[in-house]
Symmetry: C2
């Protein structure tokens, strides 16, 4: 598979591949600076398929849902969509009736301009909660977006959806199913409020494959659960999280009516890489941490242990400080809510086993782990030695920079 990945991390090195002007057949894109929160910053994007596409979506499980989430969630149920309109800088959440009207009007104006049915337009917003959308700016923005659609410009779209993200996130892969080539492109934004149920996260996938809506929705939901719902920055979830996929059938493959392993793998890989990029760009993050829990009785048990460790402020600050404080990991496992046998637990930092049968190894080992902890990318492996299930979670450390960003986000 060909592969392209965008992202320039300030703190954590990210492999950046030079991208040719990538595109996915039948899909067009455009971005603009509408000045929603600040001037001269890309803050609107449109993704457009030149024919109606099969759509699937996964949404925040927060009970406080933004107006665009409600609208888009409802429209995705039809299984068909043609355009996604996205703005950053304002979440249009906790904005009451007016917010709902605004979301509807955005969709209506885009539909009118593109001359497509209103019901085929989806809307996503991200940014500050509780402030009315500046509809004047949004209207002008929509006009600009419509005036100049291109087959390329996806990196700009990845940029336009950013809030406190420090780099755009784009992953692109090509594959072949039964001799028919296809492309899958994904863009995402994250930063704070990242935790299961997707937080302030937006992700958009487009592919030219022909896929039956009956299989796309359950597959997409499953893949999101295994990728975007296994990352954690700060434990807060948001009102706007949305992941959408459009499949327009331009590849002219015979429509997929069952889950094809190649497509499944491709979608899993693109989603995993985007999810990892979100963590690497976690607010203030200086280290990228993979948490592997093995030997669990069930996947659910493994999830609980991994998420508790990933969410522990004490573990995250210890890793920031380069301190092999395994006691904090043990304490997190102990409060994860599953039945554990402390005397069976092994903990590895990278390849180094620091805890065997629940007991710490010698000081010499700690010194080695300390050296290991100077790396920017870390792997913690917890073996519960109680079964055969495992999961992989991704998180980042907690730094003074996180607090600085979030103490100043609005003010």
């Amino acid at each position: 598979m060909n592969h392209a990945l965008v992202g320039v991390g300030k703190n954590i090195n990210i492999v950046v591949e030079e991208m040719p002007d990538i595109s996915v057949p039948g899909f067009l894109v455009n971005t603009t600076s509408a000045g929603i929160k600040v001037p001269d910053r890309k803050d609107m994007a449109v993704i457009y398929s030149d024919k109606p596409a099969v759509v699937a979506g996964v949404f925040t499980q927060n009970q406080i849902q933004a107006a665009p989430v409600k609208l888009t969630k409802h429209r995705v149920k039809s299984g068909v969509a043609q355009a996604i309109l996205i703005n950053s800088g304002n979440a249009n959440a906790c904005t009451g009736r007016q917010g709902e009207k605004d979301a509807q009007e955005m969709a209506y104006l885009l539909a009118k301009g593109l001359e497509i049915p209103e019901q085929l337009v989806l809307v996503c917003s991200t940014g500050v909660i509780g402030q009315p959308l500046p509809m004047g700016k949004i209207k002008t923005g929509i006009k600009t977006l419509i005036s100049d659609l291109h087959t390329t410009g996806w990196e700009e779209a990845a940029q336009a959806i950013m809030t406190t993200d420090t780099f755009p996130k784009l992953v692109y892969k090509k594959g072949e199913i039964d001799g028919v080539p296809f492309s899958l492109l994904g863009i995402a934004k994250g930063a704070g409020m990242i935790m299961p149920n997707m937080a302030t996260m937006l992700a958009f996938f487009i592919t030219d494959l022909a896929i039956s809506p009956a299989i796309l929705q359950p597959l997409f939901k499953k893949i999101i659960a295994q990728t975007f719902n296994r990352i954690l920055v700060d434990g807060d979830t948001s009102t706007n999280d949305t992941a959408l996929i459009l499949a327009n059938g331009y590849a002219q493959n015979s429509v997929l009516h069952s889950v094809h392993p190649i497509f499944k793998e491709c979608l899993f890989e693109v989603a995993t890489e985007l999810a990892k990029l979100i963590v690497k760009d976690g607010e203030g993050a200086s280290k990228f941490i993979s948490i592997k829990v093995v030997g669990a009785k069930s996947v659910k048990d493994a999830e609980k242990v991994a998420s508790t460790i990933a969410g522990s402020l004490l573990v995250k600050t210890a890793l920031y400080g380069g301190d092999p404080n395994w006691g904090r990991i043990m304490a997190a496992i102990g409060r994860s809510g599953i039945n554990i046998k402390p005397e069976k637990i092994d903990i590895f930092f990278g390849e180094i086993c620091l805890v065997k049968n629940g007991l710490g190894k010698n000081q010499k080992m700690e010194k080695e782990v300390k050296k290991y902890l100077k790396n920017k990318e870390l792997l913690l492996t917890i073996n519960l030695n109680s079964g055969g299930e495992s999961v992989m979670w991704y998180t980042c450390d907690l730094t003074p920079e996180y607090i600085k960003i979030n103490a100043q986000y609005r003010t």
Copy 2:
């Protein structure tokens, strides 16, 4: 009731009352610097009743439990105890068989020195996890402790049990039941790892009342649940949390066989004030935050909302930054796991209503809230307008100092 409160906050002002040399009849105390973690710092204390006392205890719910917790938990079941031996600097947790032997030996040596039955000695440790106790130093410390017991010196005991605490926590009250005067004295330590199920928290209460063990244990458990289990600093719980109360009957009241309202109120007040002191000394805390949830369908619902807000990093950093970011509070309510009606929610900052029926008020109000947020002590009130139950939780803001402390705790 007379009342004394110790505590000198660096960041948050705390009322400090000059204390006479307080004491509780029949109780003796001593402290020493055994050099467990660092030299020349009080790190051991003994609390001794000169006759066997009724005892009750509440312990961590973390499944990884330190050796002293296991020992003390077991011994408290008898309902009688006479001495508590405490050390800071080392938690004796995740130390395996040797740790259990060490805890037992500590108790044995104290019992021998005091010439009391071994079963009447309880042991508590707090500090770093996973390192063996320096038993040589501990033994010398025990000898010193025994050599010079006093009726006064409780503030020194509050000091000796500290880890990253910045001030000792002591609350003392006097009361009268049916004409018989009594005293209640409590000391506690907290700092990090504070959250329900008591975290790295130690608390010790002594009273000269005569109380039946049958009523003391359930009452103590209930009071702890309403005080120490309603505070949250960072969401981590520890392996060593212990709260103990000794009642030695010196007051010569007729033994309490049912919950007496005066004693209940006195215990609740002392526990509440100690819990609040723990939050005020939360690692790096610069603001003390009370979270009042009212209008809930059930106490459980109210607890879920209060604890989710108290645990939200985004809320805590916003308050640190003085940002009236009510959207983050709404998002926290939305993910708290209870059924909510967003359009019914009101949010108050102090006396100022900033959110009415789920919608933000005007910019002028935000300015007033910004002024209010400059205070060191803040009250957030959330009215769910869905029922008649309410709770009060206490938490602190999250600051760069928290991260500094926890990135460097061991190293």
